[in-house]
Symmetry: C2
Subunit: 397 residues, 2 copies
C-alpha cells in the first residue's frame, strides 16, 4: 500500500483539537458533562476515522474513542491520543460515572438504540448533542476547504467529460453510469450523504425533457423518473433526444466532502424558453450572492430570489410549480450534502466567512422539463468564491 | 414516457393484500390496534410505493397511505384503495382515536421522531412493529422471486463482463466504476440497502491481493482499503497485478430486490493456496446447502461450516482471521441486502421454502489476500435453487 496512488489524507491533530475546542463551549452552555457520538458522520468530523467506534467527549477531560473492530486502522486514521478497544458497551460505564447530563445524537440514533443506552446508563439525562456539532460544522476550516477544492477539481473533469460522451439516444442512466465510472478512479467516493431516515442521495440526477418535470419523493423541485418504484428518483432509462433541456446535477464526494453543482446541456438545440429561464437562474444566483455579502439573512435571500423570479415573469416555474414548489434556494454542504446554513424561510442568520453552501435557482415547466444552475460557494472575508468552477454556459452538442 | 424502455413493474394488489394478511396475525398477537410505517423499505413492501408517505395498517380496517408530496405518483404505484394527501402529521390523529397500542418501526426511527409521534399521539403505547414486518418478509412470494431472478440476470451479464474489461494495471475502483456503468442501464439501481445507522452498503467490493486481507468498519471478513478514511471499505485505487487473488462481490439491486454474489478472478495465474482455499469454500457451500435440506437449524449450519473449514486445514482463515473473524456464514436477502434468515449463532430455525439468502464461505490470509464464494439461494419445496446462476470457476485472464 505504499503506492502513492492509494495515498489518503488523514485529518491533522490540530484540526481535530480546534473542532473539539469549538464544541466544548456549546456543550457547557447546555450543561453537558459529556457528549457521545456514534453516528459516524459526526465522529469522523471530531475524531478523523469512520472505523466502527463510539466517541466520548467529556467536558473537562480528553476525548476517548472506543473502537469495535479495526483498532489499528482507527489509530492510524485518528490523531486522538486515546483510541482504545471496546468489546462490550458496558466498558463505557466507568467513563461516565457521576455524570448527570450526557449528549447523544438523538436526531439520528434509532429509538431502540437510545433505550439500550438508557439501560446501560440509567442515571444521566440524555440531551440532543447533534445541534451542537452541526453548529460547529457550519463554518469550514482551510483544511476542509482544500478537500472541497479537490472535490471541485474532480467535478470539473466530470463535467468536461459530458460533451465528449453525450449523444442522441443515450439513456439518462447510461450517462449517469459513464460519469460515475469516470469519477471514481479520480477519488470520488460514489456515495453522497444526507442526515435522513428515508432520503438516499445519489449522483445520477440527470433529467431530460419531460422527466425534468416529474416530481417524486425528494424535497427537490424536480425528482425525475428513476428506474423503478423502489428508487423513483433521478436518471431513468429514457433516451435523450434533440432539442430537450438536459439537466445534470452530479454530486461528487472526495474524502467525505461534497461538491454539488448543476449544468445544462442540449443535443442540437435548446428551446428558447429554457435558454431564457436559465439566464434568469444565473442572474438570480449572482444577485443573491452579491446581496449575501451585505450580511443579509439567509431567509431574506430566499425571499429576494422569489421576487427576482416573479419580476422576470418566470415566478410560476421558480423552484418548481404549484403545488410542488420547494421552500429552499440553497443548502450548506460539507461532510453532508445538506447541512447548515440553509437559504430558506426561518433561517434568519447571515452567511458568514467560512460557510460553504450550494445555491440552486431552478425552474420547472410542467410536462416540458427543467433547467437551472447550481454552484457550491464559499463565503470569504470580503467576497464569495464559487468552488464549483465549471463553465456555466449551456453546452449545445 | 410511453416508451417500453422506461417501463416499470408495480406491485400487484393481490400481492399487497397477501402481505398485509400475513402481518395482521402478528399484530394481533402483540395486541396492536394498528401499526404505522414510515421507514420506506417496509412501506414499499406493504404499499408498493416509496413516495414520501406514512402507512397506517389498522388491525381491523383497511390500510391508509398518507402521502406528502407526489400523490398522483403514489396512487399510480400503490394498489391500496385509500391513498390520500397529508399536509400535516396532525391529520393522522382522527384515524387512531381510541387506540391503546400502536406499532412503530422503533429499530430505525430516530429517537426525536418517536418523541414527535409521542407529542402528537399522547395516549397509546408504542411497540416495535419492525420484528413483525421482518418476519413476514422472511419468506418470498413468486412475485418477489421473479424480481430477484431479474436481478440475477443483470448480475450474470455484469460478471460476464469482467473478463472482457479486467487487465493488469487497472485499479480496483476503476473496475468497480466500469461494472456500475454497465449494470445501471440494465436496470440496476446503483444503491444497495441495509437497515443500519452506520453501515452503507456499496457495489464496488473489489479486493486484490493484500487489500483483501484489510479489515475495516464493516462486519465482513474482509473490508478492503477504500478511497479515503471517509469511506474506508471496498475498492481502492490500488492497481491489480498478475498472480493476485481478485475478489469481486458486486451486489445488484433491481426494483429494490437485491442479488449478492462473489466470484474470483486472477491475471495470469492464481496462487495455489487461494485455489485450494476457494475449492474448500465451494465444498462448504454445497455441503451446507445439502444439510439445509434436512431441516437443520441455521445456527447449526453455521457451526457445521466451521467444522468443515477446520477439517480442511483452513480453519484459521475461515470467515476471517483472529481477532477479526465474523460470526455469520450467510444472510437473508430481499428488499434489504441483509435480513432474516441469518446463518449465524442463535438463529435456531430451519431454512424453509420461500426463504432467500446469501451464503458466503470466505477465507482471509493475513497480508496476502482473500478468496471465497457467495451465492444467493432460494429454498424450494424439495430442494434449493442458486439464483445467482453465474459460472463459479476461478476466471484466470
Amino acid at each position: 500500500m505504499s503506492s502513492s496512488s492509494t495515498a489518503m489524507t488523514f485529518t491533522p491533530g490540530e484540526e481535530i483539537r480546534t473542532r473539539i475546542d469549538k464544541l466544548r463551549p456549546l456543550m457547557e452552555k447546555s450543561r453537558l458533562d459529556a457528549a457521545f457520538f456514534h453516528y459516524k458522520i459526526d465522529y469522523y468530523y471530531l475524531a478523523g476515522t469512520m472505523q466502527d467506534a463510539f466517541l466520548l467527549v467529556p467536558l473537562e477531560r480528553d476525548p476517548v474513542l472506543f473502537v469495535r473492530r479495526d483498532l489499528k486502522r482507527a489509530r492510524r486514521e485518528s490523531p486522538l491520543a486515546e483510541v482504545i478497544p471496546l468489546k462490550a458497551l458496558e466498558e463505557i460505564r466507568p467513563y461516565v460515572v457521576g455524570m448527570t447530563r450526557i449528549g447523544l445524537q438523538l436526531d439520528v440514533m434509532p429509538y431502540n438504540m437510545v433505550m439500550k443506552y438508557r439501560d446501560l446508563l440509567p442515571g444521566p439525562e440524555f440531551v440532543d448533542a447533534s445541534p451542537m456539532v452541526k453548529a460547529v460544522r457550519k463554518k469550514k476550516s482551510s483544511f476542509e476547504i482544500t478537500l472541497m477544492e479537490k472535490a471541485a477539481a474532480i467535478a470539473k473533469k466530470v463535467y468536461a467529460k459530458i460533451p465528449e460522451v453525450l449523444h442522441e439516444g443515450m439513456s439518462e442512466i447510461g450517462l449517469g453510469g459513464v460519469l460515475e465510472a469516470y469519477a471514481k478512479p479520480l477519488g470520488h467516493e460514489g456515495i453522497l450523504r444526507m442526515r435522513s431516515l428515508n432520503y438516499e442521495p445519489y449522483t445520477w440526477h440527470i433529467l431530460s425533457g419531460r422527466t425534468g418535470s416529474i416530481v417524486s419523493q425528494a424535497d427537490s423541485p424536480m425528482g425525475g423518473l428513476g428506474l423503478s418504484p423502489a428508487f423513483p428518483v433521478g436518471a431513468s432509462r429514457k433516451k435523450m433526444r434533440k432539442g430537450e433541456p438536459i439537466l445534470v446535477d452530479f454530486g461528487v464526494n472526495y474524502h467525505g466532502y461534497h461538491m454539488d453543482l448543476t449544468r445544462m446541456y442540449a443535443l442540437g438545440h435548446m428551446p428558447d424558453q429554457f435558454i431564457r429561464a436559465y439566464e434568469v437562474c444565473k442572474e438570480i444566483e449572482h444577485a443573491v450572492l452579491e446581496r449575501a455579502l451585505q450580511g443579509v439573512a439567509a431567509s431574506e435571500l430566499f425571499r429576494y430570489s422569489q421576487e427576482l423570479a416573479e419580476s422576470s415573469g418566470f415566478g410560476p416555474y421558480y423552484l418548481g410549480y404549484e403545488p410542488h414548489k420547494v421552500n429552499f434556494l440553497g443548502h450548506g454542504i460539507g461532510i453532508e450534502l445538506s447541512e447548515l446554513p440553509f437559504l430558506a424561510p426561518k433561517h434568519d442568520y447571515p452567511l458568514e466567512e467560512g460557510m460553504t453552501f450550494a445555491i440552486e435557482p431552478k425552474m420547472v415547466f410542467p410536462g416540458k422539463g427543467a433547467c437551472g444552475i447550481e454552484d457550491t460557494v464559499l463565503m470569504e472575508k470580503t467576497g464569495y468564491r464559487i468552488l464549483s468552477d465549471v463553465d456555466d454556459r449551456i453546452a449545445v452538442i
